[in-house]
């Protein structure tokens, strides 16, 4: 019985909103309109212009990255390339220079992977167990700590950066990937804990009680009941963390040494370096490469991404 209730609530969560006004029989809705009414032309016209505006930078980025430098100097940025070349992409990936290092963005890419994957896993593991404890195993003082955590999410990072530097230095991990992973876990905690706490609190309580009666303890209930039932929210949390951590710049630049710089930091160093001739095509190829991972996550995850950012918008 309780299984069904639980399943329904998960299904409800996952299903898109259904129109509820299905009571009236007979013809429903407004009178059908002509497709080309003035109103429609205005609405679609505006939306198409807006859409073009949003797409323009992406288009220019791709076009620029496929041109050779002579063509860029001559032509305009909106024109498609006369002669398509993939050299800028190869150079951006394998041999673009930051300072004395000339091994391209690939190093930053792998650093970002080595930062994002463990940070995502650790932060979600900690926050989900924590949210579960807050939702189902309330203890004295829990609400107080949780309130501090949520209020803390609004404090500008700049206020807390230096004390964290000191703590990490004392622990001997300042400048390492481990240190950065801890930082991402800390700053991901408020929003993730909130996300999981609210989700677990929304699950039917009978389910939890039945498991308790059957003698299941804290971890058994978490792993055998809560976890399998909450896959959608885990996916939302993952989207949130992967894009957020991949796009981070401030923590990367503050908490790691240059050899561990994430992709965003390295990209900025390549493009904004003052030495040498500016190679705009390489810069744009590098920019697309850096944006590719979050864009991929975005296009693959669709609606879940919207839910993720609606929850994560608080993070700023």
């Amino acid at each position: 019985m309780s299984d069904i209730v639980a399943f329904n609530s998960v299904a409800d969560e996952a299903a898109p909103q259904v129109q509820t006004d299905r009571v009236i029989a007979g013809p429903r809705g407004r009178k059908p309109r002509r497709a080309l009414s003035g109103r429609n032309i205005m609405i679609y016209g505006t939306l198409i212009v807006v859409a073009l505006y949003y797409l323009l930078p992406l288009y220019v980025m791709v076009m620029t990255s496929l041109k050779g430098m002579p063509e860029i100097r001559l032509g305009n940025i909106f024109a498609p390339p006369v002669e398509i070349t993939f050299e800028p992409w190869v150079k951006a990936w394998a041999s673009a220079c930051t300072g004395l290092n000339c091994d391209g963005l690939s190093r930053g890419f792998w650093n970002s992977v080595r930062i994002t994957v463990p940070s995502t896993i650790v932060s979600i593991a900690i926050a989900s167990v924590n949210g579960y404890a807050l939702a189902n195993w309330r203890f004295k003082g829990a609400e107080l700590f949780f309130t501090i955590l949520i209020v803390g999410a609004f404090i500008p990072y700049q206020v807390m950066i230096y004390p964290i530097v000191i703590v990490l230095r004392e622990m001997g991990i300042y400048g390492t990937l481990t240190g950065l992973i801890i930082v991402h876990t800390i700053f991901g905690m408020p929003i993730l804990t909130l996300l999981f706490r609210n989700y677990f609190a929304g699950l039917p309580e009978e389910l939890f009680k039945a498991a308790r009666v059957d003698g299941a303890g804290f971890w058994t209930i978490y792993f055998r009941i809560m976890l399998p039932m909450s896959l959608p929210i885990f996916v939302v949390a993952m989207i949130l963390q992967v894009t957020g951590i991949w796009n981070d710049f401030l923590f990367g630049v503050v908490f790691t040494r240059p050899e561990y710089y994430p992709m965003t930091v390295q990209l900025n160093n390549i493009v904004n370096s003052v030495q040498g001739v500016k190679e705009y095509n390489v810069n744009m190829a590098a920019t697309i490469l850096t944006g590719a991972v979050p864009l991929f996550v975005y296009f693959v995850s669709g609606r879940l991404f919207v839910r993720g950012i609606a929850a994560g918008a608080v993070k700023g």
């Binding site: 203890f139 700590f145 404090i155 004390p163 981070d248 710049f249």
Partner: protein, 302 residues
């Protein structure tokens, strides 16, 4: 009860619910040590004359006086104010208008939403670099318009100290309005269909219904969006670093960059702490009234 020890009188309070407490240790440490402790630490040290290393030699409000005398800080605050006001107004207005258009039961809604929201998936660094390229006077929009025949056309915000902050604003709006649109659209979808029917029966024009009926009903959504945008504005940093690095000169500096530069480059920690405390105060001014209205007034809102 888990951990309930029977027998010798009182149960041990600390052992009750032990697993949940263990699971919450990271949260407790983060909340108390980092968020609370770290904030207090920074505020306390903003009253010292720490330079290369934090030292507890108090100098009263010296750092703050120096801060408010520094031209660079004044420019930063002014930029943040301009950027903040305009990005609030524009993202709310544009976001709402787009959401209202999207709410007209249109076709291809998903496509339009996907297009408007994709910039939000990109980092500020990527956003800043793309717009740096588009606004490049030699090759970008300006040069295209000029080569099309309008020789005197000037559009080089990133190289003009007077308007550089608007160049950053353009990029920020491109990145963020999609999110505002989504939040607003969710709010519009929450409005009862009967309201629209009643307004139509009474013959009230659509724009009037929006302004006088729907927007007041969406008060909660507006306030939440406002808080989200506002707390993002105070943190603006990456975008400026990528797009202009604060230039030309100091024309596009922002407070978050001031903090970083003084803490990690100029080795003047006291200034960094004082500046970051000012950021904290700014956020508090935004958040406290909101939190009071939302949670303190005794009314429940979602």
């Amino acid at each position: 009860m888990a951990g309930y020890t029977q027998g010798s009188g009182r149960p041990n309070q600390w052992l009750r619910n032990l697993n949940a407490k263990i699971a919450s240790v990271p949260m407790i440490l983060t909340a108390v040590v980092i968020f609370l402790g770290g904030t207090i630490w920074t505020v306390v040290y903003s009253f010292t004359n720490s330079k290369l290393l934090p030292r507890l030699s108090f100098v009263g409000l010296d750092q703050y006086e120096r801060l408010w005398d520094a031209p660079r800080w004044l420019v930063s605050v002014q930029n943040l104010a301009i950027y903040g006001v305009f990005s609030l107004i524009f993202s709310l207005v544009i976001g709402f208008v787009l959401a209202a258009l999207m709410d007209q039961k249109i076709r291809f809604e998903n496509t339009f939403r996907t297009i408007m929201l994709y910039p939000f998936a990109l980092s500020f660094i990527v956003t800043g670099l793309v717009w740096q390229w588009l606004l490049n006077p030699e090759f970008g929009i300006q040069s295209v318009v000029r080569s099309a025949g309008w020789e005197s056309f000037t559009f080089d915000p990133l190289y003009n100290a007077d308007i550089v902050i608007y160049g950053i604003l353009i990029a920020a709006l491109w990145q963020g309005t999609g999110l505002v649109m989504c939040l607003m659209l969710a709010g519009l979808r929450g409005i009862d269909e009967d309201i629209w029917k009643a307004a139509r029966v009474d013959g009230i024009p659509m724009w009037k219904t929006y302004i006088f009926v729907v927007i007041p009903m969406m008060r909660g959504v507006f306030i939440t969006t406002l808080v989200i945008i506002a707390s993002g504005i105070v943190k603006v940093y990456d975008l400026v670093v990528a797009q202009t690095s604060g230039g030309p000169g100091i024309a596009s500096e922002v407070p978050a960059k001031y903090v970083y530069d003084y803490m990690f480059q100029a080795q003047n920690l006291g200034q960094g702490f004082a500046a970051s405390t000012m950021m904290l105060i700014t956020v508090a001014i935004i958040i406290v009234p909101w939190a009071y209205l939302e949670f303190g007034g005794g009314r429940k809102r979602v």
